[in-house]
Subunit: 333 residues, 2 copies
């Protein structure tokens, strides 16, 4: 299996990418293709003493900046490490692509270079997030700010396939993120989406309030990309605040420091539970081949996990399953 | 000062209301007027041994259910404890009103019975929420799902007055909750609101990502009511999850239990920091007299705090200040 990885995406590129790819190549004996400036990458790998055995490099002289217009990946930055990777994926020169670069550019490139599966209205970013008792998939978590009701219906289908195939939840509970549980709650978008999702053929459990989402209220949390971003980032911010306050408590006095020593391992476990690196990346659901968006602040371990996720998507044929379910649904209607 | 309190709003009514009002009447020597079924209230007060000294009762035979259509407060439920309280406030028979009942009904009643200040497009619910280093005001946190850009501009003004007058922040930083910091981020609503808020005359600091909100990124977080509900409820859910996980860690083993004993007081402090009861209620900003929405699950202490907040709104003339700033802004334009 060949996984293409953008060597120049994310805050810690290319060092974290090189280290993460090395770990992944050692662990799974997969073939890794890095995209980026070949000369610089070879030099940096040598400086870090990272062997490139099993890792090849596809030269791409340019890097797309995070603040660039997303559509610039199609023109101005078509020589960038991200664009090159997406083109290779589209050409079948690899089975999946991982990048920690600009989300917007990756969505545009995933949609227009890799292209959508037949019948997919808009791809969505699905992010696996820890919650009480496990994890849930949030989608869309940032690809489409404005959504139509039929897009949300489709997000539910794609998310359901992901949770079943990748996470192993037998009959994923699909919830519509809303401000109340009654059918009539929310804006026009939620009211209409509710009616479509009721008939969508997956396990739709109705509206789920944001309060219930971190408490494990559903396995697939469906919303527009604006709402998804708000939900995801609020969780990130509060988790950071909480761990900071906890640390301050444990550093406050000698008795507290001794107490900290006793529970250190468990608190570390709690921290890891809410650490985005633990869950790998987010998947662009609806593209023709797996495109994984790693967190911008990804370290080596996060890249390693994102590559694991890419392999898992391929092995479990997530794209094929989404495609056949979409076909089944189209035939029904 | 006369504070009107809905005796039959919230999950713990009327017991928590009676107890909270007793505490408030003792502490501040304010006059409290309870609305609700007089006979039942007197009986329950006697059963709880709660003295009604300084507390009068305005009889209202009915109660508006949480699930009722919000507009039913104007017709079907105009004999309810909430409607009666709002009518008394409108008639000047009290200076402020507190209720833990249906948010929707309270917004409709606050808007159409108490009425809006001249120039106010739509009242917003402002909720004071703990964050790193203090607290911030989130508005709208649920009154208006759909908002126009000029409504958000006005929310910023009202929120700024609140944080200055009630919380004592000298020059409140008003942020627009968004999915990125650049001016062009978000949906049409945020893009247009940004331009209006830039010229609004208060301390607008631009877009604030949801991640930064719990970390103290602004003093006033402005958004539509749908987004505000998502942000607020996500924080509630995650805080509940965290405290639960922490409790589980501290109960796990004997060494952990001993550790817990050492930090118990500090952890309690952390819990209180994220406990909605600590911050009293939410204010309906834009109505002609202060209308306070207490949390549906309010206990006696929460009612006590909500009454304190009502008194503070009156003493600091929050309504007059919003009114004069609205007039100043209208004259400018």
């Amino acid at each position: 299996m060949r996984i293409i990885v953008d060597a120049y995406g994310g805050d810690n590129a290319p060092d974290a990418v090189l280290l993460g790819c090395r770990m992944a190549a050692d662990r799974w004996k997969c073939e890794i293709i890095l995209t980026g400036d070949e000369q610089k990458l070879r030099q940096r790998a040598a400086e870090l003493s990272v062997s490139l055995e099993g890792i090849s490099i596809a030269d791409a002289p340019d890097v797309i900046p995070v603040e660039a217009e997303p559509t610039s990946i199609l023109k101005q930055y078509q020589q960038s490490s991200m664009a090159r990777g997406l083109q290779m994926l589209a050409n079948g020169e690899g089975e999946a692509f991982v990048s920690a670069g600009s989300t917007g550019a990756l969505v545009v490139g995933g949609t227009l270079i890799v292209k959508r599966l037949k019948g997919v209205k808009r791809p969505a970013i699905g992010t696996v997030i820890p919650c009480r008792g496990g994890c849930f998939l949030l989608l869309d978590s940032g690809a489409n700010h404005d959504c139509r009701p039929e897009m949300l219906r489709q997000f539910g289908l794609m998310g359901s396939v992901y949770m079943k195939r990748i996470i192993g939840v037998p009959n994923p509970r699909v919830g519509l993120v809303n401000i109340g549980t009654e059918e009539t709650k929310g804006t026009e978008l939620q009211v209409q989406a509710y009616q479509l999702m009721k008939e969508a053929g997956y396990n739709f459990i109705g509206n789920v309030e944001a309060r219930e989402v971190p408490l494990g209220g559903c396995d697939v949390a469906v919303c527009d990309g604006f709402t998804g971003n708000i939900l995801l980032k609020t969780m990130e911010g509060l988790a950071t605040l909480f761990m900071g306050e906890l640390k301050a408590i444990f550093m406050k006095s000698l008795p507290n420091k001794l107490a900290a020593a006793a529970v250190k391992k468990d608190i570390k476990g709690l921290k890891n539970q809410f650490d985005s690196a633990e869950y790998g990346g987010a998947l662009l659901l609806g593209s023709r081949s797996p495109v994984i968006k790693a967190h911008g602040s990804s370290d080596a371990k996060a890249f390693y996990n994102a590559i694991r996720q890419a392999i898992s998507c391929c092995e479990n044929n997530i794209i094929g399953e989404i495609e056949s379910q979409l076909v089944a649904q189209t035939e029904e209607n």
